[in-house]
Structure formats: C-alpha cells, structure tokens
C-alpha cells in the first residue's frame, strides 16, 4: 500500500474535498493502483535531463501599460451565489 488513510485525508483537505468513508476507501485503492503503475517512471534515467514546462518555446509577452475595458460590476456579479451591494457575499473568514 502506497497511500495511507491519513494521507488520503490530508490530500482531500489540500484539495478542499469532503469524502464519504466509502469514497475514501475507493480512492485509496484506485490511487494505489495508479501510483503503482507510475512506478515504471523510476526505470528511466533522467539525472541530466531538463524538465519541460511547455511544449514550444515560451517567452513572456509584454504589452504597454494602457487601461482597457474590463468586466462591468454587473457582469462580474451576475453568476454569484450570494451578493451584498457590489460585493460577493461569503462566510466569515476571520473570526
């Protein structure tokens, strides 16, 4: 077993997911299978290989610091589950 129940709990918390006990059991065993399958990667020698973050030559495109039209407040709030005035309403963050 590569994954312990404590690790599953920790990863679920990092991923902000509430899991039912049955789901925890199922994911533990499926993740175990998948991670076992990935063990084959350790067969490949990669000490002198650079990791690839993108597939083509990436560069940082810059633009002039000009103000452009963005979303109106109305549009930005249109999908909100809860609003208060011009704000999104959310549970208290700081007790």
């Amino acid at each position: 077993m590569k994954i312990t129940p404590e690790q599953v709990d920790y990863v679920a918390l990092l991923g902000r997911l509430t899991l039912e006990p049955e789901e925890k059991r199922k994911y533990m065993s499926q993740l175990d299978d998948i991670l076992g399958y990935m063990d084959m990667l350790s067969e490949v020698p990669t000490d002198h290989v650079k990791p690839m973050s993108g597939t083509v030559e990436l560069y940082t495109p810059l633009r002039e610091d000009e103000v452009h039209h963005s979303l109106s407040i109305e549009d930005a709030l249109a999908n909100a589950p809860a609003t208060s005035g011009t704000s999104f309403k959310v549970p208290k963050i700081i007790e």
Binding site: V44, K50, P51
Partner: protein
C-alpha cells in the same frame, strides 16, 4: 439528393454562394435533425435554436450583400467548455450547471466574425476528463453508429453531432486525445493543432500545458477551412504563438508521392486488435499506391508517456480546478459550517468521481515530499518524449499510427476500471506531451460495423502536411462519405 444536414460545409457553402439554399434553411434542417435524433444521441447539453436562427438570418444578409466569408451561414456545435457570452457553459459538470459566461472565448469571437451559426453546447466528459463522454453530469452521449457504444471522449458530443447530422462542423478540445479519439469512434475527421496555434482564451482549462482547441468535421476539406478560421496569434493567451499560419485549403490538392511516413515500433508493438490492424494495413496500401514511402523508427520513451501524462495532467488540473469554490460563480453548497467547509462541501457536491480522482492524484503528486518523484520526473520524461519525436522526424515527413487501440467499446464497459480507460489514450497522449499536431481520419469499419480511424502526426506547426496527406487519402477512399444508419 442527400439531406442538407448530411452534406459537408464546403458543399453547403457552394450552394449558399449559388443562392440555391439559405443559411436559415440549412439551420432549420439541422435543428429538425436535432429534434429527431438527440433524444437518442444526447450530443447537446444546451441548445440555442432562437439565437441560431437569428445568426442564420444575419448570415443570409451578409451573403446577400457580398460580405460573406468561406463558412458564413454554416451551423456549428461548440464543445461545452468554451465560453459563449450569454449561453450557459457547464463543462459537463454540476459545479457549473448554472454558469453563464460574461464573455466570448477568442475562438467563439472568430466564429462570429466568420458568420457561423452556433447551434448549442456539445456534451463532454466532465471538465474534459475522460475518454468516452460517460462522466458528463448530463448523461453519456451515445455513438450514432451504435447507440450502445461510446462515441469516445472527451469531445464525444462534438464528434457525435457531426456524425449524426446534428451539426455540420464542430469544435472540440484535446488534452490527451479528446478530439482524435471521438473522431475515430464516430468516423469523422478531427485534428489537434500544434500547442499554441489556437488561442486558449475562454477555453476552460483542464491541463494548461496540454489543452488545445481543434476542428471536428466530415472531411479534411471542411477541416482545413475551419482551421483557417480558428488558428492565429492571440495577445489574450500568453501561450499563443506569434506565427502566421498558411492557407490550409491550399494543401488540399497537393500530391503526396515521395513523402515518407514513419511507423514507430513501439506503437505497432502494442497493436493486438484485428480490426485496427486491418485498417492500418489498408491505410498503408492506399498511401503506398500514392507513392508514399515508409520507414521504421523507434520512440524509446513512448511507454512512459501515459504514466507521465497521468501525473502532469491531473497535477495541472488540481491547480486549475481550485477556482471552483462556490465564491463567485457556479454551485455553492446550501449548508456548511465556515469557509473551509463551504469549499469542501461545494466541491464534493459539484464534482463527479473522475474529476475528484484526478484532483486527488494531482494534489498528491504536487504535495511536498512527492513533487520530485512525480511531477518533476514526469516533466523530464516529457523532454525525452519530445526529443524522441524530433529525432524521428529527421527520417520521415509524418508518423502514421492507430488512433485508438480498439473499435468503440460499449457504454459502461470501462467506466469502473480507471487504468483500462486511461490506456485508451495510448496512441494519442504522446502527441499532446510533445505539443505536436495530430489528425484522426476515418480508416474503415470493424467486423461489427463500428468506425475505426487512424492517426497522422507531424512536426510542430506542420498542420498543412497533415491536411495534404489526409486529403490525398480521402480522394482514394470513401469511409468519410458514409453516414450512420440513425
């Protein structure tokens, strides 16, 4: 006389130019077809018949005043992960079941500029995670060739719509094969362009270093024109490459004699399905008769591609999907105890099992203590796969291989076995890992009458070469002319 909804976009464009038919007539034919067929196929999540007819009327006005473009007036299905302003976009997920984008994706803006008639949002695996369109919150899409079988995924709705006449052309997205696999399973022509060719602005991100939007059409002639519409640099997408693309339609009639197709031993070594093997050998004969040569080659790190993909894609997904928290849009849990609980319950209720599985996998792979062993290692494997392909292309113009290891499987057959489902992408994933362009073309049918496609892969930014080869193949074959008995 074929029905309007069975014709290609290129044929319809000619009828429109000759004033033999109007966009409104074509659109009505497609909408009627949807009404007749979609209860069985379930290709669409959201239909917009009124706005489609309004777009068609506008298209007819443009055509009448001489202001039309090649595909003005042609009905198109757009995969449900590309933002269309004012039209619900759900990514096949409960967590976005009520999300209405306040802006258009760049590709959608380009479709509007072209005067195309958007008909609706095509069904997909949830957040593009899947190979069968079975993980959609809105239920599976069924393969029009046999309703008990899967259309492939994750762009199953787009491919099924085109195959069934519920759209003339479609856009899909491809992260590990999600355009090419459904194209193969539904006997249509689909391409994933080179990474960076098509803007991802407004495409809901799954794995940002792998995702790419592409066309799904009835033949490569339609595909070349649609590619002209959507390819191009976009300053709103910082991974969009500042390159001019050629007119892809100018490659439709070029001969292919003297070109070389490479056959990777590692791909063909995995092939053990008799129907797919037969299609591959038939395809080779067709190309041989056209004067194409073949070379054997090796892609030594291919086998590690799937394992590396299933670390990289879920890792990027775990980061991209962190935004679905119930704060600004989408589903929010009805009851919760504080902020963290709100996030946890919202996401537990809003995401399906495959999405949760990949978030768990990605979060684990990126967590401290495991990053080096998994993500970093996978990123290095990616470098090795890319250099394997670069070396291969020194001895061939393009690579030929299967698209899928088998003909379409039954709905429900693989959904409970994640590794089996992941292995469906064995021939498509390496193309995304290296950022190369790849096309799937109808290659024939299995003994059960189910579609089998094959794949051509080209070097970076050589989509035109794929158009050239595919067009030559389609001149000699008629698989792409067949329509499902729906």
């Amino acid at each position: 006389m074929p029905e309007l909804f069975e014709m290609t976009a290129t044929e319809l464009a000619r009828l429109l130019a000759d004033k033999k038919v109007s966009s409104v007539e074509i659109t009505k034919a497609v909408l009627n077809r949807i009404e007749a067929a979609d209860k069985q196929v379930n290709a669409y999540v959201t239909l917009t018949p009124e706005s489609a007819l309004a777009l068609a009327e506008e298209a007819d006005r443009r055509l009448a005043s001489g202001d039309g473009k090649p595909f003005t007036g042609i009905p198109i299905a757009v995969k449900d992960n590309m933002c269309v302003k004012g039209r619900r976009t759900t990514c096949g997920s409960r967590i976005l079941h009520n999300f209405v984008p306040p802006y258009d994706a760049t590709v959608v803006r380009l479709l509007r500029d072209e005067g195309m008639v958007m008909v609706g949002a095509a069904n997909m695996d949830e957040f593009a995670m899947g190979s069968s369109t079975e993980t959609s919150y809105w239920g599976p899409t069924r393969n029009p060739w046999n309703l008990d079988t899967a259309p492939g995924g994750s762009s199953g709705g787009s491919a099924a719509a085109v195959a069934a006449g519920e759209a003339i052309v479609a856009l899909g997205s491809d992260t590990g094969g999600s355009i090419r696999l459904p194209a193969a399973f539904c006997s249509v022509t689909g391409m994933k362009p080179t990474y960076g060719s098509v803007s991802r602005y407004g495409l809901v991100a799954y794995a940002s270093s792998l995702d790419q939007i592409g066309p799904i059409c009835r033949d490569v002639s339609d595909l070349a024109t649609l590619l002209n519409v959507i390819c191009g640099h976009d300053p709103l997408d910082s991974t969009s490459v500042p390159r001019q693309h050629p007119d892809f339609t100018s490659f439709l009639d070029k001969p292919v004699a003297g070109m070389t197709l490479g056959m990777p031993a590692e791909f063909f070594g995995k092939l053990d399905d008799p129907d797919v093997s037969r299609v591959m050998s038939d395809a080779r004969s067709i190309f041989r008769n056209l004067g194409v040569k073949f070379s054997d080659l090796s892609l030594p790190h291919l086998d590690y591609g799937i394992a590396a993909y299933y670390i990289i894609a879920p890792s990027e997904a775990s980061s991209n999907l962190a935004r679905y928290d119930g704060v600004k849009y989408g589903h929010r849990a009805a009851s919760f105890d504080g902020m963290i609980d709100m996030y946890c319950r919202t996401r537990a209720e809003g995401f399906g099992p495959e999405v949760k599985r990949r978030i768990m996998l990605g979060t684990y792979a990126l967590s401290s203590g495991y990053y080096d062993a998994y993500y970093l290692k996978a990123a290095k494997i990616r470098t090795l796969i890319t250099s394997d392909f670069k070396k291969a292309f020194e001895t061939c113009d393009a690579i030929i291989c299967p698209t899928a290891p088998t003909p379409p499987f039954k709905i429900g057959e693989k959904i409970d076995d994640p590794i089996q489902m992941y292995l469906t992408d064995v021939f498509t994933i390496p193309v995304n890992m290296a950022g190369l362009p790849g096309i799937s073309i109808p290659g024939g049918f299995s003994r059960d009458g189910l579609p089998v496609g094959f794949q051509l892969i080209a070097p970076h930014f050589e989509e035109a070469r794929l158009v050239q080869l595919a067009a030559a193949f389609q001149r000699e074959t008629d698989h792409h002319l067949k329509r499902p008995p729906l």
